[in-house]
Amino acid sequence: MRINPIIIIPLAVLAASGVLFFADLSPTSFFGSFFGRGAKTEPPQLGTPLADPHRYDIAVTPNRGLPLGSGSVGEGKLIYAAKCAVCHGSRGQGRTAPELVGGIGTLASAMPEKTVGSYLPYATTLFDYTKRAMPPSAPFSLTDDEVYALVGFVLHLNGLVGERAVLDKDSLAAIEMPNRHGFRQVWQP
């Protein structure tokens, strides 16, 4: 196969100056040899190293992230009335925003109700979402204590924690939601 000299010359110049990078990408990848096939050398490294990466991870997942702090159902009731009832209804029955309460055990029926209590698999999801997204007019405005209190109150409305419950990272992590095993993962790696 005759190699076109017009291609060879720029490659030779680039290789000589040491600026041609190669990446050993999997041949099954959509992009194949993105930088060009060849021996593995230094990656471009056009990003800046992060000094303290952990402080950027704010997510609360089933495995990590619940902060220090605590809140009682009673405290949550007051915050809910002030900040949440206007959209979610005074008892979480839903108004302009979705209902949060009820429907436990209805999912297989002809009229299923999907709420925090009936459908959400993890209480950590409720903490994560409330903390970052609620209320929509002031995202990330609630303190961690307030979020514990609100989560406690909403779970209480759903009959999942008692009226005197106080939630913190340990007690919240221990809660198993009614629909914890109600999901089938479609995607397989």
């Binding site: 471009p44 950027y56 108004r95 459908y119 993890y122 997204a133 999901f183």
Partner: protein
Amino acid sequence: MKAVKLEQTAKRLIGRRALLKAGLVTAGLGGLATVGKADTIGKAVTETMKTPGRGFSNYGLPSKFEGEAIRWIVADRSVANMGTSWTPLHVLEGGITPNGLHFERHHNGVPHLNPSEHKLLIHGLVDRPLSFNLEGLGRYPTVSKICFVECGGNSNGGWNPRPLNTKVGMLHGLVSCSEWSGVPLAVLLDEVGCRRKGLWLDAQGGDGGGFHVSVPVEKAFDDGILALWQNGERLRPENGYPMRLILPGWEAVTHVKWLNRLTVRDSAAMSRDETSQYTELGKDGTARQFTFVMQPKSVITIPSPGYTMRGGGTYRIGGLAWSGNGKIKRVEVSADGGESWAEALLDEPIRDKAFTRFNLLWRWDGEPCLLQSRAIDENGVRQPSRKKLLAERGAHGYFHYNAVVSWRVAADGTIRHVYAD
């Protein structure tokens, strides 16, 4: 053009084979004789020919006569910047959605992001946590991919027990197709030293509330793109400026906009938008989760509700088909409610995981009839009938509705959305 005798299949559909045989494909369809009166052409010198026109513009906008080519906004009752706006598929042509008409889906509005300050952090279970800015990202070679982006909730009106009678865009317009350009995620994940299997990217945006969902690294490495460009220009703010994920064929919730974090984890974050939302409740009360791939779908955009046919005659049936599994292999059209089908002509090149425009000619006899299209993709997956979809999934799935769509054509030429089964 000489008269061509076209073979007709059932119900006067002039399908792909007939059109190819007749050579109408290369000749174009302009040879069809128009029936008209004498001297309706007008003056030899028109008014505009006697008038200097307007000047130049820095950023072009459509003709004022094209007022129907706008997005349909459906905002939340309580929070006006939450909700959707829908692409007017019924007035568009070809396979690319203009940037100003790409559908929107916001969970707390469009953030105002400054490109000179915006950063993407990739951290978590990686060797070298890094922060990228646009200047650095601009030094990587780009790749481009034409693909559709479809909301998992598109067409959810189809679950309604009664068919909603409105235009195509308002039924199926949470889907658009663009050329996306940017840096392959594989390159950036190699930069930080991320394993290629068994991990998840917790992808977060810089919008109000920091929307986030989890994406398996396998997909990111396969064909994921950090997109910076949309049809040649920078992303529009409402579509993710200055950067977003593009995961060809996958539901749009995973194409996180205004991306500012990829946190690599050993398991999914179980965020609200992969649990409470974007999961499908089934008949047995369990729900499907991580139904990432959008299945084959098609819809006839012309004629469609809002369009009135002018008596019996020759018409074009045109529409769109797409599949997250790959290329569309075939689109079949019926004008008799599914009793018989003709194969439609597909615009070339047929693209992987992108809009495929289909066409065929139809001689309408003026009688009421039922138009349908159904897509089959290269994996052999078929767009299901509504009856089949409901039988499999029940009525409460909400997301991933891709059933065959039926338009009833009345004798007066009006078109309504109906359920055929």
